[in-house]
Symmetry: D2
Subunit: 303 residues, 4 copies
């Protein structure tokens, strides 16, 4: 495994910058565009990694996966699904049109509107949504150093016009129960958590392991729930490129504009890859290519 | 297996009509709404079935799966993907908006606009697209009696205003190469093929079997291709309920308004279920429920 | 008046081609892009003109104004308004979205979808919709030579994918009562009538004259009806530039992609201007500029 | 004139509540739904009125007309038109879609998004946008008692999720130059000015009088500007019913959800009518009907 990962690093680490960095988020534009890391965690407890797998990066939308899991863990009766759907949204443009047409019920928990509702749901249950996600990720990864990059969060919050607009739309439809600014702040803060590939691969392992693997050996979630989260990842986890990612990689996965992608091989592994250059849909160029090669060579596709 | 299928029939056959029948297609409104059949074909060559598994029904959109497979088989360089995308479309409404916004390139081969392009692609390669799909299905199922229900096709063709509109839009964007009426006729005719659950389960088995299992033992498609078809099924196969079907059932599948659903358990089985009553999204109510119970009890979900 | 019109010709006739010609309609691409004509008909019965005011051109969408007037004349109970609205449509894109959202009722009679419904309405009342519009225009203009350019109509009919798509959508919603191909043919044929500026100015004069001025001195329409047609012209007559035209010119008007614009000065005049080069919205560049100068100098704006 | 207005009051004052009151704005739900007032101001300086013409009501969106006029008065080079268009928007739904599609440039100054931009433009020029509109209206109406209903404004500001969302979208596109909350507050405050029919008719008279009639006899705006404002009123002043209002009434006008409508008869009169019950598009039911009868009987339609 280690040899395979080293090969992937050799092949896919960009010799010169590829894709684009998200200009709208200043601190993400400062990272080295040639960074590339990969880690594979196995349900047997081992982790292999290569490249920049220990460098922390901004997990951004990957946090949406963990806020969803935490919401389902804290409220097992799934009241959340009355406030957010589980269908792909098509383009960001469609997403806005849909929010209007479907009276403020976002299409899925991984588009921004849906993640704002999940954050609001957590804030209602637990008070501090961002702090709770940090705690959950510390427990899952076993890494107590995890934290919000507070200065990055402040900078991002000041430039969140689009998310603030979405949150106010949701509020106008009665689909936020906390004040807009509270929800926004919690949301931006849990997106601004920094983690390494190794930490993320370990944190997500319960999704490959039928929900097992919480701290102290307790299950994180029932197996039926992790299967369902994986299904939502597959259909909705890669922005408007879910179909393409399923086609090329064949695994449930969640990406973030920080350049990370966390993918799940049910029953076996999680894979986390990171490289900052993004394609037009907002997914890591080198990361997606490396995952496609990885599943082609290993046959890990779920299809 | 047989006992399990009998149980599913006992539980899910509607005692009285459920859902709705598609009024827009007269001959589909004549079937017995309490019909229910199920068949499971194994890659080991055996087939189990229960209920009305030998009653032929109109396969409707399930034919889109086979026209896609045939197109990829006949043109392995995949020129098709320059004319149709592989992303979920959201609602039918979005689908039309998207077609306009993306200059006549349909979002995927399983929405009507995409299937019209696939049909046109086949007509260009093979001349008679509908006849070719019939031949392909006869070979795959081993059932030479398969045929187009020509009177049903004629009736449907006369009421195809919406599909005729879509085809003319596509033609206006230069994305149909044959005359609109030719494409429409081929399309409606391959949708009007009648097959039983047993026949469909057998016909689709190559998708569960890494592409193996064509007539005379030849592979139908390379394994990489069947994985990819399965991924498109999962993200786009159930109209605007792909996310929900993935969540509840956890298998790639394709449904038709005739009430059939063909699902794939990669590496192991195909399952075909049929019951005519449809939900609001156009998928069989009893069929979806039976598949959800089947995967819950067997653990066949790919997630 | 004549001196003023000569001045407008001198100022606005393009010394070299401006704007664009509609490539989608071959015969319109053959005209001299420097042509420029203008005619002003007065309710006192006089006509002044200048430039190429006697050169026939393809009236295209200006025919929609006369098909609407004829429909209201033939069916004074206004049943037409149950099948088409009277609101601006925004962009062509919105127009398609709206048609879907409002179940096949076009926003107004001057977008293509609405004009197809008007044509269908005429065909139902009178049999030959195009022939009836030709007859109506001959009567109004006193020019018996008016006719459909049949070869242009045939060429256009063969390239009408977009309009054929719209017509099939309307048919799918039950808002066409005649066969799609019949409606399309009538529609394209009345768009392919050729007339000169002088003929059009004279034909439209009843709109400036409270409905008076039909053949033999009979009223064409009641005054209340012409006021209403003028209001629809103002809000919907210039494609997606109705607001801009009202702002710059201040008169009700209807344009066509043949480069003609017919404007109404209620109680006083009609003005017809023609110059083939079109702006991005499909309206004559030089024609609009000349009308803006005309109303600025004369104070004819209705505002 | 007085006799005619008395007749209109007798005919159109609702004997029992008609239409609906805007539930989203609490203080507007408290007015007497049977109130009805009308005033006609003449360019000769006289004013006739009847019914509740002296009862102040919340002018709401009618303030958008005066904020636009003030912006054009204060910045005659019309830089405003680089940030807002002059085209009808279709439905509120389209308006949102359009804002997204056209990169944050609202379709016209009378939809909420456009009026927010006008308010921002005024705030940039003059500091206190709401206070400036109040001052402008006091000067125009000669009524020094005019003021913002501050408690109503506070209540409305607290329930402005939808407008806050729009303002944040605009800010995200760079089309607001002041802080979102500042713009929103100014906007809601100038919408919360209360005026009577007589006061509004007098305040708008410059639009019927070629821009003449400011305090001390100075012109308010050049004649060319008032013609243009009237044209925008006609195409965009009545929400999504501009076409219908032009068809039935035939005058430029602006309505507010407080139940007021201010209409302009160019060169002659302004008419202000008020009755709180609204139709589905947000326009006064009784007010529109009274204006339709008024223009039918007087021939004041501009068409």
């Amino acid at each position: 495994m280690k040899a395979l990962l080293d090969e992937l690093v050799a092949t896919h680490r960009p010799p010169s910058p590829v894709g684009r960095l998200p200009e709208s988020i200043p601190h993400l534009a400062d990272v080295d565009p040639r960074a590339f890391g990969i880690a594979v965690a196995s349900v047997d407890g081992t982790i292999a990694s290569a490249g920049d797998a220990d460098v922390p990066f901004s997990i951004q939308s990957i946090s949406k996966l963990f806020s969803l899991a935490l919401a389902l863990r804290e409220e097992p009766r799934e009241a959340l699904w009355e406030r957010v759907l589980r269908e792909p949204s098509g383009t960001a443009f469609n997403s806005l049109v849909q929010l209007e047409a479907e009276a403020g019920i976002p299409r899925n928990p991984f588009i921004n509107a849906g993640a704002l509702v999940v954050t609001d749901f957590l804030a209602e249950l637990l008070g501090d949504a961002a702090g709770s996600v940090v705690g959950f990720l510390r427990d899952l990864s076993g890494s107590s150093r995890l934290a919000v990059d507070e200065s990055a969060a402040r900078a991002e919050l000041a430039r969140s016009s689009r998310n603030r607009a979405l949150a106010n739309f949701l509020a106008g439809f009665g689909n936020l129960h906390n004040p807009v600014e509270t929800v926004l702040e919690h949301y931006v803060r849990h997106c601004s958590i920094t983690m390494s590939c190794r930490e993320l691969a370990r944190a997500g392992l319960f999704l490959a392991n039928s929900g097992e693997g919480g701290p102290g050996g307790a299950p994180v979630l029932p197996a039926a729930q992790t299967k369902r989260i994986n299904s939502v990842l597959l259909t909705c986890g890669m922005y408007d490129a879910a179909g393409e990612f399923a086609y090329r990689v064949g695994l449930p996965g969640k990406s973030g504009v920080g350049g990370g992608i966390l993918a799940v091989v049910p029953g076996r592994y999680t894979v986390c890859v990171w490289s900052p250059g993004l394609d037009a849909k907002g997914n890591s160029v080198a990361g997606t290519a490396a995952l496609a090669e990885l599943t082609a060579r290993t046959g890990w596709s779920i299809f």
